[in-house]
């Protein structure tokens, strides 16, 4: 199918006094047009830095040192041209047109991402005026229309409101209205509902699903909540220590996770639909970001660790039969030579 954004071998490192933290370390994944990609992982796995790298918003001491971000940009003649966002100057005209226009982003803390001293109407129209060739009055009309689309009651009056006068859920609606005002082809949502209560979260997710279908845009949905991903995403990418360790169709991954990290994450969740006396835990902790581990980054915590293989060979992504990509040596020749039964076992867990 039609690939909208392809991230290849992305490397974003933070150069700190303590050493180099490889926040994003050769991440590879792709998003198809009109689809929802869920990016999951625990804190510090590089989800947000990946998003900021795509938007070219990584601030020093962070730098994107290598990789490609191929964005397929629609042209006037109906064709699309592929451009590498990393080749564009981060503050140049072209990148500024894409950022907030064709690729928009919403954040975890809706109130902190809105300006406290500007009226929300002005904040939305500012974005429209930056990206579209319209007059101020037309921009205001679009703004009211957007506020209606995100189901904000009394949209005209709300243009004059300030962020502190709105609840958290309302602020997130305003952020979504602003992000969608220029019809982006990709919306990056970085933990958009984490700070919200469950019933408000349900409202926002419902809204996002509706708008996604209406506007035919792709969403990169970043979250730590596997349940939300199961509900929202078509595709899932699981990240661990700056790498995508598994990517595939959401239904496949939740039915039959392949990577030991994905398996362990799903096992560690308390579930309402299952009785679990004790929860499975992942031994150890996420390694220190400055450490340089040899072999697979997960080998120190992995339940299926094979000595002499996992701590020596760096796994490359391999494609399994259901079009799923896994970065794990269990599914390669290395594991079969050592212990032939292992790969079999894991598929049933």
């Amino acid at each position: 199918m039609d690939t909208l954004l392809e991230v290849r071998n992305l490397q974003t490192h933070f150069f700190m006094a303590e050493g180099v933290a490889k926040a994003v370390d050769s991440t590879t994944f792709s998003i198809r047009r009109g689809q929802v990609l869920g990016v999951v992982g625990e804190s510090g796995c590089g989800k947000s830095v990946t998003a900021r790298s795509i938007m070219r918003m990584v601030r020093p001491p962070g730098h994107t040192v290598d990789g490609e971000i191929l964005y397929s940009r629609p042209e006037q003649n109906g064709q699309s041209a592929s451009i590498d966002l990393l080749q564009l100057p981060a503050t140049g005209t072209e990148m500024r047109a894409i950022r907030g226009g064709e690729i928009a982003m919403i954040f975890q803390e809706p109130r902190a991402s809105l300006s406290p001293v500007h009226r929300i109407g002005d904040q939305i129209t500012e974005n429209i005026l930056l990206h579209q060739d319209v007059s101020r009055a037309e921009a205001e009309e679009i703004a009211v229309d957007m506020l209606r689309q995100v189901h904000i009651p009394l949209a005209e009056q709300r243009l004059d409101a300030f962020a502190h006068q709105l609840s958290g859920g309302m602020c997130q609606r305003v952020m979504i209205a602003m992000a969608l005002s220029c019809h982006p082809s990709l919306l990056i949502a970085d933990e958009p509902t984490t700070a919200l209560d469950v019933t408000t979260e349900a409202q926002i997710l419902e809204l996002m699903q509706g708008l996604q279908a209406d506007l035919d845009m792709a969403i990169m949905f970043i979250t730590h909540d596997l349940g939300v991903v199961a509900d929202m995403a078509d595709e899932v990418a699981v990240m661990y220590l700056g790498k995508v360790v598994e990517q595939g169709a959401a239904a496949d991954i939740f039915r039959d996770p392949k990577h030991p990290y994905t398996i362990a994450l799903l096992e560690s969740l308390p579930r309402m639909d299952q009785e679990r006396e004790w929860l499975q835990t992942i031994r150890g902790v996420v390694p220190d970001p400055y450490s340089t581990l040899s072999g697979c980054p997960f080998h120190t915590r992995c339940a299926k660790f094979i000595e002499g293989v996992c701590d020596e060979i760096v796994p490359e992504p391999i494609t399994l039969e259901d079009n799923r990509e896994v970065r794990c040596l269990l599914y390669t020749e290395h594991a079969r030579q050592e212990r032939p039964q292992v790969a079999e076992d894991s598929s049933h867990s």
Binding site: M272, D273, W278
Partner: protein, 336 residues
């Protein structure tokens, strides 16, 4: 062991030059429940519903506006205290039976103290032990919560979020409390660490015969750890039942909506009906008339707008505050 009756806490809202009290935020507005020894009661609700305030009232970190909190740390035969009315001096001996675990492991530990000081402080303050004896107790606690005894001289900054939560648990348990109030103890943690802490809390409960009041907003976590669950909405309990019953067949429409909003991280769940509530949580300083939930309730009738429903027993151990509880047939969490 603990019996809470008609517990209320109204925070005054002031305005103007002389801080005249203009109205009250009814954070907790008439809450009744009881806790048996050795059980876990989960207290759930959205932010601002008053669940944390209930925990703090039992700890007497706040002065209750009204109501009683009967506490019998030694069971039926033992002493009976009313935590709501005791003065500070008479509270002191009772307090060692009551401990609290907090949400944020980063801000609830003093960064300038070592683990020996942090975990041993309750013992020192109560004059129960000192010197080598104190150190031995702290080492014992560290082992119990799964931390290495060598850590005793380290400072909190050297530990991860999960380890800090273990430190907080060690501090809470060093006085051998009978009741532990855990206020969102795992909501700041990543899932893999959350599982470790939940297992630890369950293990400690069995080892030490603890009673938990487990305050949380995550219904999956609450189901896992609780024997019974109480649901709060705008300062009142709307439903109280055995955890399994409540999840299988909720009786209050708010519980139904909460359950439907939970996402299950598994396949084939995606077509479950999600009940999206209209509007927002009612303002506790100016709650709606009748049932506080009626503006958002899809079953609301005229009666719900006028009369406030009381929490009533409908079956053995099941309580619900809804006029329509007998008539409605509500959907529970899908069981697989």
């Amino acid at each position: 062991m603990l019996e809470v009756n008609g517990l209320k806490k109204h925070f005054p809202l002031t305005a103007g030059l002389f801080s005249k009290v203009v109205s009250h935020i009814k954070a907790v507005d008439g809450v009744d429940f009881a806790l048996k020894k050795g059980e876990t009661l989960g207290l759930v609700g959205e932010s601002g519903c008053g669940k944390t305030t209930v925990g703090r009232l039992i700890m007497r970190l706040y002065e209750p506006t009204a109501g009683s909190i009967q506490f019998r740390p030694h069971g039926e035969e033992g002493e009976d205290y009313d935590l709501a009315t005791l003065d500070n001096a008479s509270l002191r001996p009772v307090r060692s039976h009551l401990q609290m675990i907090f949400q944020d492991p980063y801000t609830s530990l003093n960064p300038r103290k070592t683990l020996l000081d942090i975990i041993g402080e309750p013992l020192r303050l109560n004059g129960m032990s000192r010197g080598a004896e104190l150190e031995d107790r702290v080492v014992e606690m560290l082992r119990l919560v799964g931390l290495r005894p060598e850590y005793i001289t380290r400072y909190p900054h050297a530990f991860s979020g999960g380890q800090r939560q273990r430190i907080g648990i060690a501090r809470a348990l060093i006085l051998n409390p009978t009741l532990v109030i855990a206020d969102e103890p795992v909501s700041a943690l990543d899932v893999s660490v959350q599982a470790q802490i939940l297992n630890l809390l369950k293990f400690l409960q069995r080892e030490l015969d603890l009673t938990y009041l487990f305050i949380a907003h995550d219904l999956g976590v609450v189901k896992h750890i609780s024997d019974r669950v109480a649901v709060m909405y705008v300062g009142k309990l709307v439903e109280l039942a055995d955890a399994d019953d409540l999840y299988r067949k909720p009786l209050h429409p708010y519980t139904e909506a909460l359950l439907s909003a939970v996402h299950v991280a598994g396949p084939a769940q995606s077509h479950r009906e999600r009940i999206v509530l209209e509007g927002e949580v009612a303002d506790p300083s100016n709650p709606p008339s009748g049932c506080y939930f009626h503006p958002r309730c899809r079953y609301a009738q005229d009666r719900c707008r006028q009369e406030t429903p009381e929490l009533q027993g409908v079956a053995e151990g099941r309580y619900v505050a809804c006029h329509l509880a007998d008539e409605l047939d509500l959907a529970g969490a899908a069981s697989g």
